[in-house]
Subunit: 361 residues, 2 copies
DNA sequence: CGCCCGACCCGAAACGTTTTGATTGACGCA
DNA sequence: TGCGTCAATCAAAACGTTTCGGGTCGGGCG
């Protein structure tokens, strides 16, 4: 409708208008300016749908977020907030799909891909063997992941070095004199959980200290509370605890306070994410910050590069996290410094993912 | 491509395939089954882009979220999480646009609307005179708002009765014997801020109690902290404080603890939203819950109804909030119960929105 | 003078649907 | 037999772009 409108009102063909506006060199500059002027006059906006039909591209990027109330958290929120504007600047829309985990999630990906709804995808919270990544790789759809996964095939990803981050956090706690450092982790299906656990374990091994107990569950406040309570109920509770996310740390803080203990003195706690709230917990939370804005920017760059035909092979980066020291950790309480080593119970894996079970450390 | 593929492989016309699949009655049932079978065999998926071009609908609905770090909060998160799957069930996509406030926000709306990118919109956090709503009304684009606005024209909206909610909360505090009840509000451009303030004021008026001071700023943890600190620095600080959101309440809690006071005993605090964290603050936060899931469901219904041609006029509802009593409030401290009344200072409005200034109560 | 080339422009096809209006037979009825 | 009716099918147009493969016209060159 619209191209034609300009064309008829100027007495040229639709082709010429299209080519003029697209900047092709084979249109006389006089014509071009007339067309440009008219386009501006009627405030011409190309119809994206027509354009997409013709070009076979949809002009949108998909982001599938977990729809379960617990798991859809501030990290995704920040990601959306950062990614959206960047994509918009590239003329791309961000479409969101909520999907409850498992089969429905796979279906969501299939839906987006097969209906030509998206040109590319952003995949967050990668898992060890990630079916989504396999699907996308098989179909040749461009994507970028936040987080790594275990596959031999090359794919674009950007990740924070969780291993290094937790190694650093553990070393900090060791430096405070803690001898029993526990880990409140996410289920080991998630790669980030594995990396952070590895860092914790590596630092302890390097120091010759036996790892404290490691529990895991979906990283929510509720589970942080539950798991921390379980830790405190032990005969020989740890003096320091690493939490895989701030959300978990908030729950843990609550458990500590409920037990009549004081975080930062009786028990040291370190989180991860640096959510806005971390500044305002009591005490403020020592945590590890990932630069979400910049990550989002880089991920979008990687995705756009692939849309323009770049191979995914070179596109992978791992960035450092930054430790933000606040007041939820500190010197180990003197009474218990370097007391006897406790050995974590080696327990069989639980049946379903969400259960909080003891890791083999 | 695809319709044609079925057509040629079955020796019928594209039209017939289309009509068979669409369920028109004028195709022989034998033909219909053959077509259905073939469609299933090749796993036919209609090309949405083509469909949209033909129908003039885009099959997506838009949600513009504030992209400023502070204002993009958990409420939107919950909204997105709830709305996405519901829309998906209707065959609709949810496209998100982040937009920093002001001019950019208007541009974002214009972009979505004029490029035919969305069939409808969801508008959250309504303002008193909301330019977005005017734009949408003028263009005749279907939309649903979360929150009300001051316009004579009918539009579809669903809101929580913030006035009733804060009246109830204030009455609760009065019942606890508090005589100085302050309000930590959001800027009065937001309708929700006005409603909640009205409820607070109404309850106090009914009880013959003078309103405590009312401060306002963007509802973030940081501002909650700042404003609460300001309250505590007064000669005659209030014994109870209503916070317009849980985020603010979290900041306020921090300010209270920093001042060496104990929330729930020295100072009573009530929030709003019932974020997941409200259960895990210290003390757990008494707050008002809005049923986001159900609201999302209803808003989607309202939107879909309009897409199917229903007028917006009848579509508006105001639901009650539910008070969740936890432990951040309680009886007024005996030493100060019904002490002399303080009169809020009547100060002129500040220059820019984000400043924390004293309301004329 | 005749030809060729470059500059400029355009018609038509294509992307995959849906929908309109027409066509084809078969059948019943007068 | 002739006509109307009904069921079943289809061709073509349309949605708004982009792009392919020409086409026309003038001017420069041999």
């Amino acid at each position: 409708m619209s191209l034609r409108r300009i064309a008829t009102s100027l007495g040229v063909s639709v082709t010429t208008v299209s080519r003029a506006l697209a900047g092709y060199p084979d249109v006389a500059s006089a014509t071009r300016t007339r067309i440009a002027a008219e386009a501006r006059r009627i405030d011409y906006r190309p119809n994206q749908v027509a354009r997409r039909l013709r070009s076979g591209r949809s002009g949108t990027i998909g982001l599938v977020v977990p729809a379960e109330p617990g798991s859809f958290d501030l990290f995704f929120l920040a990601l959306i907030g950062a990614i959206g504007p960047l994509l918009a600047r590239q003329g791309l829309d961000l479409v969101m799909m909520g999907a409850p985990g498992g089969a429905a999630e796979a279906a969501a990906y299939r839906h987006l891909v097969e209906q030509h709804r998206v040109d590319g995808l952003i995949v967050a919270r990668t898992r060890r063997h990630d079916a989504r990544i396999r699907l996308l790789l098989d179909r040749g759809i461009p994507f970028v992941t936040h987080g790594r996964t275990e596959t031999a095939r090359p794919y674009a990803h950007l990740d924070i070095d969780g291993e290094q981050a937790f190694r650093e956090a553990t070393e900090r706690l060791l430096g405070f004199g803690h001898a029993q450092i526990a880990l409140l982790n996410a289920p080991p299906v998630y790669m980030f959980a594995r990396h952070r656990a590895a860092g914790w374990r590596a630092a302890l091994a390097a120091a010759g200290t036996a790892p404290g107990p490691a529990l895991h569950a979906e990283p929510t406040e509720e589970n942080g509370d539950r798991l921390m309570s379980a830790l405190l109920a032990r005969r020989d509770p740890p003096t320091a605890v690493l939490c895989v996310t701030d959300r978990m740390a908030v729950g843990a803080l609550h458990a500590i306070a409920s037990a009549g203990l004081r975080a930062g003195r009786d028990i040291s706690l370190i989180g991860y994410d640096d959510l806005p709230i971390a500044r305002y917990t009591d005490p403020p939370l020592t945590t590890l910050e990932q630069p979400i804005e910049q990550m989002a920017r880089r991920m979008v760059e990687m995705l756009v590069a692939q849309l323009d035909g770049a191979p995914a092979a070179g596109l992978n980066e791992v960035w450092p996290a930054r430790l933000i020291a606040r007041r939820s950790d500190g010197p180990a309480p003197p009474a218990r410094t370097s007391t006897l080593r406790i050995t974590p119970r080696a327990t069989a894996k639980g049946g379903h993912e969400d259960a909080s079970i003891v890791d083999r450390a």
